[in-house]
Amino acid sequence: MMKKFIRLLTVMLLLLSVLGGCKPKEKASVSTDGSTSMSKVIGALGEAFELETGTTVTYNATGSGAGIAAVLEGRCDIGLASRNLKDEEVEKGLVGTVLAYDGIAIIVHPENPINDLDLETIAKIYTGEITNWSEVGGNDATIVLIGREAGSGTRDGFEDITKTKDKCTYRQELTSTGDVITTVASNPDAIGYASVASIKDTVKALTVGGVAATEDNIKNGSYVVQRPFVLVTKKDVTLSDSAQKFFDYITSEKAREIISSTGVVPAN
């Protein structure tokens, strides 16, 4: 009785595995590869695209450089870079299309008398070269540096733009934009950074070099604490049907709202 049952089970399992093996190939999918900072925006767009067309979008979080290399070697459809392409990369036949701009606001407590800092000063503050607000014209108080945890896209972007990678001497590393805003709002000596889209009235966003962090200033490039999210493709290679559809979809008017909802400024 038991033996029979086991035999039956084995046969069924074998059958199943054969069926599984012969299943028709997966429907067309689009592969993307690159910047870890873009995971949120690509994730949201991919989900929406899948809902609309049924085509799945895969995303490999490897980093901008690796993503660009992957496109060059034809290992993915669309590369993702959170920086502009370098000249030598363009010479190799790559094309960059800006999908969105990641604007990062520098925030302080509303009572802080400071309204403006330039990029260099911000970098000096975050690397611990300037430690007191009085050195930049504020109150005599120790500057409290609030940042994000290692691996966060906002931290990566901020340290990238201010060229302070691995050199920041944080007082607090918080795990969400909301926490950063709440903390800065409750400490008059704190300074922090958060994506522009999520700033609330409880904190004051500084102008950087005299330029306010508005959507327009981010788009025209005059607000400097920002970086582009670039879609990288090859010039002489036509995208597959589904990849082209995805590309058109995310650069279209329709995708604007989805892109904004992830906290970045859409470019189109």
Binding site: E149, G151, D166, Q172, L174, T175, S186
Partner: protein, 290 residues
């Protein structure tokens, strides 16, 4: 008759399966943690991992030393015990022996409520009230610190300590106390010289339970401790073992050394919890044998 026997067997089987589910979960977690936690330790080296003083998981030259986390967790827990145990212990003695029935019911309701508050609420209140308060009182630039974590943890472990201690104190036979009183000891003398020594294993178990709760807490600590991987110091921002895992898990890419190292931290934390459980069992067993 036979039918009854079959029915009994079936029910017995169902209960056995339900019991095995729990055991299965524990085994699954243990095996999974060991399998996923060992590769990073092997790659980094056990000594470098456990005693390295620097943690920079995403730097160009990543460093994976978790000594700051281990020490922060130990100091934080010890601090919570130092503050929480005396308060919890005396509350328990008062409620079990001295308090009138009315007071006891009211306070016990409050304690139960305290036990039921989610940790994120503790964290939020700590973040908004405690952290700025520490900043003002101690005149430090920022209040997020080991001290804030200790205070939040000591409040969080209070209900555990009080409830378990009360149970132990209530179980002391009334004859012991009557004998002591009859010999002329005052009530307070009786409680501290007779009742407390008689309940000491139970009270020790309460403390160990508190340690377990404090060392395993992540959310509330994450919100008040600042989460920078510093070596622990009372007014510096620190990262516990628990928060080290939870704060970086979201962004670490699967298969990377960073992710694996986070599993290794979880494994270390698990070892700590196991140790605490062994100690707890030791005390509970002694209690039973008496």
């Amino acid at each position: 008759m036979r039918k009854n026997k079959i029915f009994e067997d079936i029910v017995h089987g169902i209960f056995l399966i339900l019991g095995l589910i729990t055991v299965g979960c524990v085994l699954l977690i243990t095996v999974y943690l060991i399998i996923s936690g060992l590769p990073a330790i092997r790659e980094i080296g056990l000594i470098n991992f456990l005693f390295g003083k620097e943690w920079a998981s995403t730097a160009a030259e990543p460093k994976f030393g978790i000594l700051p986390f281990i020490l922060s967790s130990i100091y934080g827990t010890a601090g919570a015990i130092v503050i929480g145990v005396p308060i919890g212990f005396f509350t328990a003695v008062y409620l079990s022996k001295v308090a009138s029935k009315k007071v006891r019911t009211t306070l016990e309701t409050a304690i139960n409520l305290l036990a039921g508050i989610p940790s994120v609420v503790y964290g939020l209140v700590g973040m908004i009230i405690l952290v700025p308060a520490i900043r003002h009182i101690f005149k430090v630039p920022d209040g997020s610190s080991l001290l804030a974590a200790i205070i939040v943890l000591s409040i969080m472990i209070l209900p555990n300590i009080i409830k378990v201690s009360i149970t132990a104190l209530d179980a002391v036979p009334i004859e012991y106390e009557d004998a002591s009183l009859a010999l002329g000891a005052t009530p307070i003398e009786t409680y501290f010289r007779v009742s407390v020594p008689a309940a000491k294993s139970g009270i020790a178990a309460a403390v160990v339970l508190g340690v377990g709760r404090a060392i395993g807490e992540a959310m509330a600590v994450m919100m008040v401790a600042g989460n920078v991987a510093n070596m622990p110091s009372l007014f510096q921002s620190v990262r516990f073992l628990t928060t080290a895992v939870s704060s970086e898990m979201a962004y670490s890419s699967p298969g990377s050394l960073q992710r694996n190292a986070l599993f290794s931290i979880a494994l270390v934390l698990y070892m700590f919890i196991m140790l605490i459980n062994v100690v707890l069992n030791f005390f509970l067993k002694r209690e039973k044998e008496k």
